[in-house]
Every structure is written in structure tokens, then in C-alpha cells.
């Protein structure tokens, strides 16, 4: 996968299309591999972190949250956007505490996923967390969600029967299945706990 010049596009100009309260969209004109021109429109996003929180009894901590874009309640792992200058680990610690009220003693980076390669530059960094201790949630104003837990068997069953439909949660299920089976390894670390 070394030389991708026959596939790669090069930006020749960029135009701002939208600076909303939340969404930032640009249009770039690109030079195609064959020398032609095309335009690409996409969302600029700071990136995000999602956390797979494993409770000491083997259950997985999950959230139920209404997502207005989809007009549905989704079962998801905890996640949130990176703040400016924040490392993914610190973001994961912050989001886990804010949304679920838990802190975790040990953390392990698993993988990075692009949810929407066609029209967003967002990357989601997925971390596993264990050694959980409950401290109390601190939801943002206007944020409504339910925290609950499920066994890995229940969780994987919901991926199979369509009850789980969120991409970061489904992709993390591949990791959960293989990590719990012992076939994929994580490199656990014990970082300083966030205040």
C-alpha cells in the first residue's frame, strides 16, 4: 500500500460552505488522479473518543440515548468529542465520568475508526477501560441518557438481532468479542486518574 498516486486526489482550493452552531462544512476542489477536476464536500470535525467500559463482574457499561438526526433511541458505548488540545485518553476519562459517573483504573487503546469516509474527516479513537468505580455522573445541560449494563452475550445478541445500530458500538463489538475470547490482545496502562 506504499504508492497510492494512482488513487490520490490533491486539493487545489477550499471554500467555506457552512459554519453552524455545531457543523462546519467545506467544499474542496481537487485534482483527480487522471488530471481532471472534481469537488468534494465534507464535515470538518475535531475527532472523538469512545470507551468500552468493562465492569468487574464481566458486564459492559452502555447508554441509551435519543439521537435526533436518526429520530431513534440508540444503545451506544459512551463517547464524546475531543476538546481543543485534549489527548484521546483524557477525553475518554472525561466522557466516561461525565456520562456514566465512573472512573477507571486501567485503560487500553484498541483502534481508530472513520464513521463516514464519504463526507466527514471525523476519526473516533476507541479505548477499553476496566477497574471501574462509580463516582456520580455530571451530564451537560440538555443531555439526557440512561446508563445500564449488559453481559457480553446479551450485547453481542443485540448486535446480531439489529437492536444495536450505532457504528462505533458495532465496530467495538468485534473487538469485545475477540478480546474476551483472548484472540486479540490489549496493552493495558494505569494512567493518572482525572480529577
Amino acid at each position: 500500500m506504499s504508492n497510492d498516486q494512482h488513487l490520490t486526489e490533491h486539493t487545489t482550493s477550499r471554500e467555506e460552505l457552512l459554519k453552524g452552531h455545531f457543523l462546519h462544512v467545506v467544499r474542496e476542489t481537487v485534482r483527480l488522479p487522471d488530471g481532471g477536476a472534481a469537488t468534494r464536500e465534507f464535515v470538518l470535525h475535531p475527532g472523538a473518543v469512545a470507551v468500552v467500559p468493562l465492569l468487574d463482574d464481566g458486564r459492559i457499561l452502555l447508554e441509551r440515548q435519543y439521537r435526533h438526526a436518526t429520530k431513534q433511541v440508540h444503545v451506544e458505548i459512551p463517547a464524546g468529542k475531543l476538546d481543543a488540545g485534549e489527548t484521546p485518553l483524557v477525553c475518554g476519562q472525561r466522557e466516561l465520568l461525565e456520562e456514566t459517573g465512573y472512573v477507571a483504573r486501567e485503560w487500553a487503546y484498541a483502534f481508530t475508526m472513520y464513521p463516514t469516509v464519504a463526507y466527514s474527516d471525523e476519526a473516533i479513537h476507541i479505548w477499553f477501560a476496566r477497574g471501574l468505580e462509580h463516582k456520580g455522573a455530571r451530564l451537560d445541560a440538555g443531555e439526557f441518557l440512561e446508563v445500564f449494563s449488559a453481559t457480553p452475550q446479551e450485547f453481542l445478541g443485540w448486535c446480531a438481532d439489529g437492536r444495536i445500530r450505532d457504528s462505533k458500538t458495532l465496530a467495538s463489538a468485534l473487538w469485545i468479542q475477540n478480546v474476551l475470547a483472548g484472540t486479540w490482545k490489549l496493552d493495558w496502562q494505569a494512567p493518572p486518574t482525572q480529577p
Copy 2:
């Protein structure tokens, strides 16, 4: 999961934010579960279909494609947007042929995934295809991609080592692993072949 009124938001107004060449973005004002108000911005998308094409020798058909939003080449399963009035199965047949040059004798619906619940209404319907026969690809103008194949072991290894980073492809890997292991079942059908 029957009564979600304590989580659900209700639209009170909608505003067009962007009608680009490709992206359509709206802002909706919503009434929150506690009676407060908030705004939600998101992409309106027609939906998409992705296909897991299984070759007779057990290999998986894949694509390498540069995705300008991410400035990277991604390994992906074939996929494309639903045309107006098109069923997901017909869309999958069309995209598989256009992008890879293959037709498939048997098809099975696997799952539906929302890539970006936070800011897009896009749903991706994932189908498996087998009984593949090569006819010759018909790429759209300005579309550049490479078609290749991998064993399931190679493919899952690339999910584990970070070489595969596309959400629909990672989520499909969970299905590929469990379908090939025989633990998750698919309901195969033999639809009319597309012309």
C-alpha cells in the same frame, strides 16, 4: 425499550442550512424531554447499501479507495448511495456490478448501521452476496478504486492491526466472523439478476 418519552426530543421547526452539490444540512429546533429547547444540525442523506461479497474460494472481495474527506486510502467493502425509489437489494446489485464488475447469484440481508448518529440521518443496509461471477466493472466518471480480495484471516487481521478503519467495513467484520464461524445465520435468497 417501549416508552422512551423521557429521552425523546420533538421537532418544533426546521431551517435549511446548506444545499450543496452533495451535502444537504438542516437545523431543527427541538423540545427537550424536560421542556427546554435546543437546536440540532444534521446531514440529510438518502441512505446507502454496502455489500460483503464472498468469492467461491472463500476470499472476500474488497476495494481500496482514496477518500478525500479523510485524506487517506481506505480498504472497504463495496458500497453506494440509494437512488430515488431503489430498494436496498437492487442498489447492492447495482453497486457491486458498477464498482467491482461482479454479479451475485445469492443475497442475504445482514444488518443496518447508522454511521454517524450525532449528525447524519444516513442508514447503511449491509447485505452479503455469494455465487459471484465476473462481468466487468462500470465505474462512474471521476471514480478511481482498486478491487482485490483477501482471505477472512487476512481481513480480520487488518481489522485488528488498524489497516482497516472504515466503519461499515469494521462493523461488517463482526458479521463476517460470526457467519463464517456458523454462530450467526443468514437467510439467503436468489433474486432476479440485474441486467
